[in-house]
Structure formats: C-alpha cells, structure tokens
Amino acid sequence: MAGARTRHRLGMAAIAFALAAPLPAAAGPISFDRDIRPILAEHCFACHGPDAAARQADLRLDTAAGATAARDGHRAIVPGDQAASALVARIGSTDPDLVMPPPETNKPLSAAHRDLLVQWIASGAAYEEHWAWRPLGRPAVPAAGHPVDAFIDAELARAGVEGLPEADRATLIRRLSFDLTGLPPEPEEVDAFVADTAPAAWERLVDRLLASPHHAERLAVWWLDLVRYADSVGYHGDQPITMWPYRDWVILAFRDNMPFDRFTREQLAGDLLPGATRAQTIAAAYNRLNMMSAEGGGQDKEYHAKYAADRVRATAGAWLGATLGCAECHDHKFDPFTTRDFYSFAAFFADVAERGIYHGANADGSWGEMIRLPTPAQAARQRELEALVARARERLAVDTPALEAERAAWIAAETARLAAPPDPAAKAAKLPDGVEQALRTAAGERSAEQAKLLADHHRTIAAATAPLRAELSRLEEDLKAIVAAQPRMPVTVAVAPRTVRVLPRGNWMDDSGPEVVPATPAFLSARGGDPARRLSRADLADWLTGRDNPVVPRVLANRLWAIGFGQGLSRRLDDHGAQGEAPSHPELLDWLACELRDGGAGAGAWDIRHLLRLLVTSRAYRRQAAAGEGRDPDNRLLARQSRYRIDAEMVRDTALAAAGLLVRDVGGPSVKPYQPEGYWDYLNFPRRTWQADSGEPAWRRGMYVHWQRQYLHPALQVFDAPSREECTARRPRTSTPLQALVLLNDPALVEVARALAARALAAADAPADRAAFILRRALGRRPEAAEVAVLVGLAERHRAALETDPEAAARLLGVGTLPAPAGTDPVALAAWTSCARAALNLHETYTRP
C-alpha cells in the first residue's frame, strides 16, 4: 500500500490508501474486533474461513477452535506462544511456497499487520464474537449528563483530544434542518433561532423539526433507498408502475413515529395480519418492490430465481446490514452464512403471488396481483355511478304501455317478414340466437321463456327505450372511466408457496439441490419452536425485531447515527459483517441499540424519533465542523462535526426553497419536472416521451420526482441519487463537472434563479440590499460585505452588457414557463438573474454545514 510519501502526487488514490490505516493508533490492548478480524478477513478467510467448500488444508481461522486445533502435530495458533504457532512462521516466511498469504492472491500482509498478529498471539490470541452479532446488552454510561456525550467524551479524554466548541447558531439551525427535514431553514427561522437565547431553545427547535411532516419525508428518502422504491420495474422495457402509495405509507409511518417493529411487520407481512387494513396492504407492497421483467423470451423459472435473490439481498441489506446475497452460489466467504441460509431466507417470500415474466404487462400494465386505489372523491363518484347504473337498469326493465304497444307491432312485423320469401334487397338486422326461433313460434305456443326473450331483445332496440338506453350507456362509460383512472398498485397476495431448493452454484436450471423451508440464518437463530410449522413472513418480522436479535438494533442505530453525523460509528453502512468496520465507539453503539430495542428515558421500544432526538441534542452533534487534519483525519473520535454535500433531492429542494418556489405538499403521485428532450429515447416496449409537468407539480420536492430506474432524472442522478435497482445503504458523495453543468445550465435552475431575482427586485431597490437578499436566501446566513460586493459587481456588469443586448435579456427571461412578474425591467431582472445563478452555484449553498 502507498505510504505517505506518494500521498500528494497520487491525490485521491493515495488518500484512499492512507485511510486504510487503523484507527488513531489505538493505544491500549489489542481488540480482536477492531484490529485483528479485519486483517484475518482480508487476507485469510477466503481460503481459511466459513466457506467449507473453498477451505484449504482444512484450516479455518475465523473461529478460535479452528485456529487452535491440532493438525499434523502443528497448531496454526497456540495462544500466548508465538514460537509454537505455525501461523507466525508462515506469515513471516520468505519462501514463496510457504509464505501466507500465497503471493498469487495479491494480498500480501504489511509488516504492521504481521506485527499486530504476532502481538495478538503472544498476548493470548483472544477471539471475540463478532461485534454486530454478539448478544446485545446495555453498557453502563460512563458519566453523568447526556449519555451520547458521556461515551464520546470518555474516548476523547482517553486520546487526549479536545472536542471543538459549539458551532454558531445560524450554522446549527441549517445543519439540523438539513439533517431532520432535508430542507434549508427559511431566513426568518434562522433569525428567530439566533435571537432565541432562552434555555432549551435548541431542544424546542429539535422538537419542532421532528414533528414536521418534512422530517417524515426526509426519513422516507433514507428508507426508500434501502428498500429500492421506484416508479418503474427496472428490467428491459423499464415500464412504469404505481408504487407511490407505498412511498406515502412510509412517510405516514414516520410522521406517526410508528415503532420500528410494527414498521417492519407491516411491510414484510401486512397482508398476513388478521383483518389487514388498506394501509397494511399497501405497506406489504414492500414485497413487490423487486425489479420485474416483461421481456419476451424470459423463462418464468429463471426470473422467479432472480426475484427471490433480489428479495434476499434487499431484505438482508435493509434490516441486517448483511451481504447474505453473497451466499447464493457458495457459502459466504467471510461471514457464517451458508448457501442453505440464503435459500431458506428466500423461502420466506415463496408465498408471494407473482409471475416470472409478466407477458403483456408492457401493454396493459398488469403486474400480477394489483389493487385499485381510488381517491376518496373517486370512490364516492364510483359509488354514485354504480347506484345510477343500477337504477337505470331497473327502469329499463319496466314495461310501459308505450313499450308494450311498440313490442306488439314489432313482433307482428318481424313475424310477417320471416314468413315472406327472403327479399335480397332488404337489409334485415341479424337476430340473436333464439329470438328468430321464438318469432317463428306461433304466438299462442311461445313459452314464457321465449316471450321474455322477445321482450328483452326488443327492449334493446325499441324507440321507447332509446333515451333511457343512451343514458345507461353514458353512465356505464363514466363508471368505466372513473375506475380506469384509479391507480393500480401491485400488492402482496399470499398463495400456496412455491417450492424452493438450494440451487447448486446458483443455477436455476439445476433441480438437484435439497428443498428448503423458511428459516432465519442458522448462526443467528435460537433453536427450538415447532419444526412442523412452516414459518411465515410474519415470523421473519418477529425474528428481526425480536429481543434475541442483536443485529437489527445495531444496524438501525448505526444508520440513524449516520443521518446526524454523516457517517456511521461503523462506516460500512452496507456491511456489518466480518468485512465491515468495527465501530469507533462499540459501547455507545450498543447503548443506542438497546435504547432502540428496549426503549428508555420515557420512550417506548423501537422509537426512532427518540433516538434521533438523543443524537441531535448531544454536544457532539453541535460541534463546529472542520476538515480532517492531524492524528484523526477521519474524525473517528468525533471531536468535530463534518461538512458534506447534501443529497440529490435536497439540492433541488434547496434551490427551489431559496426562490420561494418549493411546493411543500406531502405525498401523492410522482411528478415530472423538466427533463432534457430525448433523454428517454433508448427506452422501448413501449416507446415513451417524458411529459413534463409545469407549474406547481414541477416544484415539488425532489423525492417526488418520477423514479425511473433505468433513466433516473439526470439532475438527481448526477448528484449520486441511486437507481434503486438494489438496496442502497449509503450514497456516494462525489463532486463532478456534470454537477456543475446541471447547476449552471439546467433550464429548471435558470427558472429558479429568475424567480429568486424577481423576489430580490421586489424586496429592495439598492443593489447591495438585493445582493444581500439573494445570498441570504441561498445561504441562510447574513452575507459579508465582500460577498455582497461580488454580486453587486456582477449585476452591474451584466446590466451594462444587457442594455446593449436586450434580446439576450429577453431570451434568458424566456427560459421555463414561469411568467415574469408584470412591470419588471427585463434588463434588471436578467442581470439579477445572473446574480441568483451565481448564488445557486455556490459550494456553501449545497453544503450541510
């Protein structure tokens, strides 16, 4: 690995390697979790780990028993005796045939890691059960005061590092608003908080934001990434589906602070709950969030296997932070998940009614089991129309004297016509089966049935019924239309479970593997229960949030931590297994996990809001942010806060909010703001064009933008929003030139800038005041004089230039659909639009401070 010497020359690559160094040279005893397992996992487990099929020399180093077992008179590890430990000799060997790891694995041990292993063996080679999987008990809080700070301050004190002071109040409210609501604070909110020096002002702010519906939206974005919510099916033609009611259910669940165990149960098994409500049915659509295909030529069996694996990856990723998907073809290389665990986990979902290939769905939108979800107005209208149709049918069935007379005449005429020789010139309507027969029967000999047949048929052609028939037909059309307009959403319906087998090497065509029934991963599960009872998705939910499951509360606590601090206590949010990262503060993580699982301080079990409140009311949360320098470049000690670019949706929301355009409605069908023409050209089956919404729908929050898995809106995609084809536990935060192009040139952003400029013009006359207004709206804080001067200069130059080029001003003002306010000087508006564009391109505008 590269050393410090090459760090500057290689830039990012070198930084990547530098970060690989262990935690701030953790003084004190060696920790197996933190120091040793990562080395063994990286360099040894692939051949000497849990995967029995790949195991070499019958040696496993992932368990103490395996590592210390006698093999041909040697032991790999003899605790406390490095000289007797074969492992020490092999990792230190200079013989390429003997040295471990073997050179061809390209995983040589560094000298530092070799030393660490030797020290660990010399000091007794204590194994620890993996930090994420061992039983969860509540550690004692090391000091009085805020428990989060107690744990963090204890580590800071041990390391001799002092935490940074509290950030200024304008920064604090902006940080908290982004973290809890995904929105920037309005300048008035900033002023109010800065001025509120009363005790507990912070706690009041926290409570206000936690109670906001926008807090629920913000958490929903986090959860929707994990469960891979989208508005299209993902495979091949990537056709649209109606899934937004599930998204809205998630928002409502967070708004109501639904306990996480119930949240889990309703998603995995809402359909199985006795008397399942409409909301629980929608929640259980979780099981239908997998990608689906309507591609011709697909085999059902293959796609059943794909969907099953998809669900295992997503569910294990979202709840367990586990890479169980790795065990599809072989036992997991690093974690004790077996292939049987993988397929047994998949079997939980074998009762979900589904097809492999949804033939024809590209044309008719039928993705298996679906329900219609009328709005209350639609439902009322449907009931009304159904009643009207029924009444019209009743009225049609009544014989009036006029109808009876017309019928008698018709029967007479038809009878005569049938009796006469056929007239080739006459165009007689073809009579339905039986009617002609009845007419040919003498009047006196017709059965009652035949008489009714004649009457019924005549009713459909009679002049006397024509107005009523027309009315009925109109009503029926209306009813059809109101039903068709109701969203149809895929839902989970339980059917007789499909047979699930272990697929050898993951090959779906190979039926030779053993059949499995639903079961949770063996090494995490207590034995017992009734082996004859087939477990259900509800049992899976119970196991995930049961008292004996130590994984889920740790994973959840760690991910909630990342919402407040930018990274987890264990930074590998997608993998809490052996290849993950030991937490920087294991006791704190366990304490928080217990607080979640068991409740505490007035909160019930699985109270997400309570946990977030704990995090953001800590002093650690409120510290100043600073860059990583010195001996703790990655801020593992949490002596400071972190700055980072906000998520894709927040970028959009922040710009819209700055201009006062943001529409803060919650929920509803997804929306389609402008998108470059032709962006969907390579979709097919069917071909589609993006029909952009204008006006208010175009200014909804980013989370409501139509989520097309294959072609996500480019303004979201460039800011690292995931396609949601797979579970995403952590979004990357990159900085690319394409992001700059979006912020500079996207017509949507230009329109937003113009709206902001128009507000500035309306708010103030003096250039400095206008510039300050724009910066204030973009940044939340009061700008410095030097900053104001930059924008004033820009406005002046552009005003001068545009006065000689009014056509350019008009063209700039013509971008988008938002009308310019009446009576505005177009040159001034265009010049100040330049200033607003600058403000909406600043690093700080999109930085969570």
């Binding site: 930084i15 011709g296 293959e302 990856r313 942010a625 900085s735 979006v742 552009h798 600058a838």
Partner: protein, 477 residues
Amino acid sequence: MTMPHPVVLAPALARRGFLSHASGLGGIALASLLGRAAAAAPLAGTWPGIVRPLHLPARAKRVIWLYMAGGMTHLDTFDHKPKLAAMDGQPMPESFTKGQQIAQLQGQALRCLAPQHPFARAGASGQEIATIFPEIAARIADRIAIVRSLHTEAINHDPAHTFMNTGSMISGRPSAGSWLWYGLGSDAADLPGFVVMVSTGRFGQSQPIASRQWHSGLLPSRFQGVEFRSKGDPVLYVGRPAGVTPDRQRDVVDAVARLDRLRGDVVDDPEIAARLAQYELAFRMQASVPELVDLADEPASTFELYGTKGGDGSFAANCLLARRLAERGVRFIQLYHRDWDHHGSVRDHVKGTAAEVDRGAAALVEDLARRGMLDETLVVFGTEFGRTPMAQGNGRDHHMKAFSIWLAGGGIKGGITHGATDDLGYGVVENPVTVHDLHATLLHLLGIDHTRLTIPAQGRDFRLTDVHGRVVHELVA
C-alpha cells in the same frame, strides 16, 4: 485492514494550499476558452488512475467498443456453417438442445434455419465473412481477429447486456469503461474519460439500452460513462442558458469562484477546492464538446471514407466522433447500435442492419490505422449474445451458447479466427471464451492484471472479472 470505500474520500486535490496559491479560476477558464492553457495548468480535476505503475506493458491505450445491441446472429455474419445449410428445415437434433435453456422458442418444434447469406474468403488471411459485410471484408479482414467461441450466461437482453458490460447480471457493478477510467485515468483533460453514443437502425426491434450499461456501480460516480447525444445538447446541460454569452457565463463562474474562495478563507473545507476544479472542467467542457462535434475541420476525404457528413446520429457518424474522441485521449468509447434483435425476417433484416454498420466500422479501423492510432486503440466489435441455429418463423431466437465477435488494433493479432462451434453453430467445441475472459483480455491489453484491479464493497473485493477470467493469449500479437 480493509480499505474504506473510495467514494467516502475527497476527490484528488491538494488541500487548503490550492485556495491561496492557484491563480483565479476565471483566469484558467478564460485561458482554456481561448485555447491557450489546456496543457499549461495543472489539471486539478483530472484523475490519474489507480493502477500506477501499470501491472503489465500496455499494448493499447484506449478502447473503442462497437456494441451490436440486440444479439447479432453469428450464423449469418462471422461463423460459417455449411452443414446448417444442409439441414435447413429439418428438425434440430435433440442431442443439441435437450435440457438447454431456450428463450422465445420454449415449447415449440425446433427446426434448423440455414445461414441466410453466403460467406466468402476475404483478405490475404482468407477470413470467412458473410457477404453482407463488403466493407469489413474488403478493407480490414486482415486486421481483425474473429472469435467464434464466445458464450454467455444470460439468454435475455437486459441481463445479457448487464453481464457483457459489468461481468455480472446483478445491477450495481461497474461497467468495463468505468473500470478502465478508474484504473488508468484519462488523457482527455477537457472531456470525460468514458463516452457512450447510441444509434438506432431500421431493421430490428430497437433494443432498450439502460443507462445501467455505462454506470459506475460501486465505483465513484465520477467514473460513470457520459452519453453524447445526437440531438439537443451533445452532453446533457453542456449548453449555456438561452441569452447567456460565453463572456457572461464566464463572469458568473468567476463570481462563483470568488465567493467560494471567500468562504474558503473562513471555513476549513477542502471540498471547496475540489468543487472549484470541477467548475473549471465543466467550463472547459462547454467549449470542448461543441468543438468535438463540429466537423468543419474534417476534410472531404473523411466524409467519403465514413460515408456520412456527420451530425445525423447514424452509427457511421458516431464512428467518426469515436475517432475524434480517441484523438483527444478519451479512455473508453462505446457505441451502441441497437438494431440487432431479429426474431423475424432474419434474411432481409440482418442484411439491412449489417449495411448500417459495415462502412462505419471498416472506416473507423482504417482511419485509425492511417493515423497511426490503431496500434494503440483496441477496437471491439461485439454483441451481448448470438442467435439460434433454429428457426423462429423466418427469424432466429436468442442464443447464449455461442456467438461471434471481432477485435482489432492495439495488441491484437490480425487476420486470425479463434475458437469454433459445432457443425450447426449451437455450442462451442474449441477454445471457448467467456465474457470474463474477454474482459480479462481487454484489461491485459491495456496493461492491467484483471485480478489486481479491485474495489472493496459490500464485504468483499469486486473486480470486473468477478472470480473468473483468463487472458486469451492466442489473440495477442
């Protein structure tokens, strides 16, 4: 110790020093716009590549991948099967198909369909090529290595594309172009290192092509392929807003830089420098991209060679742009032609689609050779799978057991045919080549040991070739 995911890292840049010492961003941008400083300024935003030094001597510097999307039939193009002609209309022997995966022909009687076009020997090497590729046969037969023994693991388009591009059918793995950009960086200072273009034909069902095919997956998204479009802005949002002149755009960007720097004086945030660099690159792209697609500097002979004046979104026009991108140092250029799905009328439609790509592909190879660039450019002419020897009406179904591609240029032995299928072109019988092998060979030719270019994620090291892949040395000159 495992390595953190690189996406958690700041982009490549010196830290605070940049802010105080760099000349103003506006200065750099303006100079670039005027064409003076592209080579002069240290390009703070460019990525040098993580494989330094190279694992192996490089035989090629870049890749141009001509991707025949939809499943190009091997039986009517590059894999001559006279015995299949003799069996035309007869039942496909069950010995071939029993227990095998079948796509749209599931449950149907399987009958042989003869090759629909004659083959002829071409070049001094006597390569066998169907006559529907007259330009490839006449101009470059001796430069290409035909591989008749590719096979894949996916029988449907969507997963087969994903497998061909990323080495996995599961979404979320980096595509080959992203791997190469990440591994080697790019010599293109003002352009992305991985560019994708897509053309549509008139003879097949237009293949849906997901942006997943050029996604960076587990790698940082800066390594994602950038699509160059034939209508609208060539690169999304590269065009300035209406009514904004280059001068005024520069003025806005300068104001942004000044304000960012003022903030940088107050807060300790190295990301500000990274962002300034990205704005600088974005600004340069606003000049370099239009310059790239403006063909005014090309002589008439170029248009004659490619058979297009450009600007029409055709495959040939994209081939010409590919050469221009290659000249500017872009690492990986991928051209999709999404017209190869021929479930019916394979005779006429394959001929039509072949005519859409024949001249452009041949012209590109010849043009690169004339300019002395072919030796350092690996050209791949490939597809996601082949088509069945069995008839589907008068067309052919998807087939994953065997298909053909060709390679040319950097490090490739021209004028050879590698691997063979059985008499009916159903399965590979000689020198099978997997998609992982193709990827391993591609990386090898660019100086990378495919087992050593990895990214840790989701608990393990991922690589383009997963845990497979063998370099096909027989193809290497």
